[in-house]
């Protein structure tokens, strides 16, 4: 199968993630969209690894998974504290800092 198709899929996933971050209200969903973007990157890396004929891209994908896991820990901690304070995880409700 033509590897370019996987790149198109990766681009689509990345675009869905980007639009999700920009339009969704719930912080958890926004964060899931960021994770979707990271996974789109992983798909692209693995595809490029195949196209270039070396294994570097696959190794990078592992690094990305570890980094994403670390990011989840920090992110959920922050979203959890703000939810306990405000009883809401909506990013529209956190609007004290402006102008």
């Amino acid at each position: 199968m033509n590897p370019a198709n996987y790149l198109i899929l990766s681009g689509l996933l990345f675009a869905i993630g980007t639009v999700g971050v920009l339009t969704r209200r719930n912080a958890i969903v926004v964060f899931m969209c960021v994770e979707l973007m990271l996974n789109a990157c992983n798909l692209a890396l693995v595809t490029f690894s195949r196209m270039n004929g070396n294994l570097e891209g696959q190794v990078i994908a592992f690094f990305v998974m570890v980094v994403a896991a670390a990011e989840v820990v920090i992110g959920l901690a922050i979203i959890l504290t703000i939810f306990r304070t405000r009883r809401s995880a909506s990013v529209d409700d956190v609007n004290l800092l402006k102008y």
Binding site: V34, L38, F48, V64, I74, I78, T81, I82, K98
Partner: protein, 527 residues
């Protein structure tokens, strides 16, 4: 033979077993010291009692950063790539690592401050206690402090040092996360105004994660183009024609988004004022100064080393971003009523001035940017330290109206702050002037004169809002219920003193540091 089999064979034929790269421990000793410090800090959290930690942690952090700084100075002549070319130890790396460590030292002084008010430090006693719940008011006056801040700062500094040394995009991405993740947490640790602080942490985190996804997608496209993430090999691949340039340009653009976010350049600046305002002031000072150094260090390395051959392609974009950043920073700062937000927009404008130096795309631009980063960092840390000294019953007097007449009630502190604001505006005899002179001169010699004209106009606009604060402090009547200035001698005053002294010193005798920056820059980046 299918493609999969050939891939496996190709991997197998290149040695079979994985070669362990040699690690030159002596050359990365500053990095190892700071990482070690961070881990020791975590062990201290686990095994030392809470009152003792409040003393042990800052002392440990200060000594660790100082030791790493000495290590950096001792290494000053090293020019080498290490650990299978993953790290580049060269002039710019060592200069920026030293700068980051000095800012770390000053930031430790600010975080360790416990004498600003009866309640103690600027950092929260327990981040897990919900604001507004039973016991949350007791938390405001508690002697406790979330001492995890020190190991978090050490991790962040280690990430920054790795970020400027990384010679490979993967390591750069990992370093970016190591420096950012602790900062997201630190942003949420303010003792007063907990809601603002938590909001700052969440905004910083969501937007930061968003931008690192862009950085990573850029990395993926560069890898697809060059077949490697080594900066040197990317440069070689970009120099040979015959490949699809689409991947290359996509990669450069997406990487650029990630970097521009970190330095706070427009149009990716919107997080800066919110995060600077909401974070605890010591943390704001630290991230304003040190993150900027780290992000610019990596930005310069990637665009000079890997994409140096493409400079005619990215220069126009850089021009656009620089102009937009300067204009947005200078104009929006005019409308601010909160002192920390105003300093945040000033930070955006300064990122624009730094991009002007980079737009020169020559060795002068490199040394000028490095010099500017030092001058800007010291002035900014001192300015934020002054902000933390002017307080009302509810914490810092952040609203500009509360600063009215401060020059009459406490002339010394207001005088120092006025001096720092003049330095940020770039008035002669301050470090701000010599720094701006260095980057603008580099830009003119690099044929970026129109950019310098815009920068001068923006400097003039920026000078207006700095001077407005000075006028407010000295030429208006103090309100009856004005803020109280902390006069007890304290660590914050030490940081203010160091920052103001360096600002004056680099304004009067800038030559030694300029020479140092030139020496570091002339050897350039190793590949």
């Amino acid at each position: 033979m299918s493609a999969t089999e050939s891939l496996v064979l190709a991997a197998g034929s290149s040695g079979g077993s994985i070669q362990v790269p040699p690690v030159e421990y002596s050359s990365i000793s500053p990095l190892l010291i700071v990482f070690g410090l961070a881990f020791v800090g975590i062990l201290v959290e686990a095994f030392v009692s809470a009152p003792a930690r409040r003393v042990v942690q800052p002392v440990l952090a200060f000594l660790g950063f100082a030791a790493a700084f000495v290590g950096t100075v001792l290494l000053h002549a090293r020019r080498d790539t290490l650990v299978a070319d993953a790290l580049a130890i060269d002039g710019p790396t060592l200069f920026m690592q030293g700068t980051i460590l000095l800012f770390g030292l000053l930031a430790v002084l600010l975080v360790a401050e416990r004498r600003l008010e009866s309640s103690g430090s600027a950092l929260v006693a327990s981040a897990a206690v919900t604001p507004g719940s039973a016991g949350s008011t007791a938390m405001q006056t508690s002697r406790h402090m979330q001492t995890e801040a020190y190991p978090l700062m050490a991790f962040s500094v280690a990430g920054m040092m790795l970020f400027v040394a990384a010679n490979n995009l993967l390591l750069m991405f990992v370093a970016l996360e190591i420096l950012s993740l602790p900062l997201y947490l630190l942003a949420g640790l303010a003792r007063r105004r907990r809601l603002l602080s938590q909001e700052a942490a969440m905004k910083y985190f969501l937007l930061g994660a968003f931008s690192s996804a862009f950085f990573l997608y850029g990395l993926a496209f560069i890898y697809g183009y060059a077949g490697s993430v080594q900066l040197g090999e990317i440069a070689d691949a970009a120099a040979t024609a015959g490949k699809s340039d689409t991947f290359l340009y996509l990669g450069v653009g997406l990487l650029g988004v990630g970097f521009f976010f970190k330095i706070g350049a427009a149009p990716f600046h919107s997080w800066t004022p919110d995060v600077y305002q909401g974070s605890p002031t010591p943390v704001t000072a630290f991230m304003a100064a040190a993150t900027k150094v780290a992000a610019f260090g990596a930005l310069l390395r990637v665009f000079y080393v890997a994409f140096g051959g493409l400079r005619w392609d990215w220069r126009p974009v850089l021009w656009g971003v620089a102009i937009l950043t300067m204009v947005v920073g200078a104009v929006l700062a005019l409308t601010q009523r909160d002192i920390k937000r105003m300093l945040a927009y000033s930070a955006i404008a300064h990122a624009g001035f730094l991009l002007v130096g980079m737009a020169g795309t020559n060795a002068d631009g490199l040394s000028g940017s490095m010099f500017y980063l030092v001058t800007y960092g010291f002035t900014t840390i001192a300015a934020f330290a002054v902000v933390s000294l002017v307080r009302t019953g509810e914490g810092e007097a952040s609203d500009l109206s509360q600063w009215q007449g401060l020059g009459r009630t406490s002339p010394v502190l207001a005088g120092i702050f006025a001096f720092l604001l003049l330095a940020l505006a770039g008035i002669p005899l301050t470090s701000g002037f010599t720094g701006k002179f260095a980057v603008f001169q580099a830009a003119i010699s690099g044929d970026a004169t129109p950019l310098v004209v815009v920068a001068l106009v923006c400097s003039a606009i920026a000078a207006f809002f700095y001077v407005r604060v000075i006028v407010l402090m000295f030429f208006s009547e103090p309100p009856t219920d004005g803020p109280v200035v902390v006069t007890r001698p304290s660590l914050t005053y030490a940081a203010v003193g160091v920052g103001a002294a360096v600002t004056l010193l680099l304004g009067v005798v800038p030559q030694p540091l300029l020479d140092l920056a030139n020496t570091a820059a002339t050897s350039g980046f190793v590949r």
